[in-house]
Symmetry: C2
Subunit: 160 residues, 2 copies
DNA sequence: GCGATGTGTCTTGACGTCAAGATAAATCGG
DNA sequence: CCGATTTATCTTGACGTCAAGACACATCGC
């Protein structure tokens, strides 16, 4: 009997004709995602990053040397709008973690390049981040993690 | 091989020592929550609501007649800060869906009351909302939904 | 070549959110 | 009773986000 169960119970009393069978599942997913996001944010904050800026730096880092991508490619990886991406890049550029360099092959566009400072910070932050992710999933044993991952994979496939 | 798998693959190439076993699970959860949130938002928008305002109205509605709660109680149900709740109430009050009435038992506080208009809107919106939730979970069969719900319940219990 | 169309990026304006602190009223201790 | 403390709500300021559109350059068709 968790908080979500109590919500379903209230609906059953007030609007008994509602088919709330999916509501519990989606409600738990939303609450869990909120909790997890806040936990993740806290660890990144101790490295001077938000999960927004972390996403951009991590995307550049894992693309491999020379750690350069166009804003458009970054956009595609991160599920945000173009305006949001401009904001994120502006902020990272001000902090000296990335820089805009001209794209020799297409003068309409720029390339976002990780600086040495940015590379150092993301390499430290991602190490702490994966340790934190491991901690956050500790309540599930290996079989449960595998089962959950498989279900989420199937569910997610419906949207991407 | 979905988008999350590709991310893990990149990390394995660039930073093979990283233990990314939890990263896939949490990444899928985050992406899924984002997709689901956007889908939910679209349906609510067609009733003139955001998921923020829907949350408040739904919380009042399922509390039962006379559909009144203090801002503090609403806060507790919705995982947001007090400033956010004030904003939401302000906006709903401007739209005439709730009103602030004095609390006869505690003059420090107010009660947020659903108006007739608010009651009508939330009753329609929640009906469309549950139908939408049902649609969004259609890719999973009943057993899968039950298994996923059980795993999410256990996972969520670690945080609330 | 060159005008029309397409593409990549940035700007603008409106929201939603949080943290921290301000304000007002109830309650507690003596 | 009355000052001190606690509690409930709201205010402020800073961010992050999106949708829609502006702008600059590339490319296509003639």
């Amino acid at each position: 009997m968790d908080r979500v169960d109590r919500i379903l119970q209230q609906w059953a009393r007030e609007r008994p004709e509602l088919d709330t069978r999916s509501m519990g599942l989606l409600g738990r997913m939303k609450r869990l995602a909120t909790h997890l996001g806040r936990e993740v944010e806290q660890v990144l904050q101790s490295h001077g990053l938000s999960s927004s800026s972390f996403d951009v730096l991590a995307t550049l880092r894992r693309s491999g040397a020379p750690y350069r991508m166009s804003p458009g490619d970054l956009l595609e990886m991160t599920m945000v709008s173009s305006g949001t991406m401009t904001n994120r890049i502006d902020q990272l550029e001000k902090s000296g973690l990335v820089e805009r360099v001209i794209n020799p092959h297409d003068r309409r566009s720029v390339l976002i390049a990780l600086t040495d400072k940015g590379l150092g910070i993301i390499d430290e932050a991602v190490f702490a981040h994966v340790a934190n992710q491991k901690r956050l999933t500790e309540t599930l044993d290996d079989d449960e993690k595998a089962a959950l991952d498989a279900l989420l994979r199937k569910f997610l496939a419906a949207f991407e």
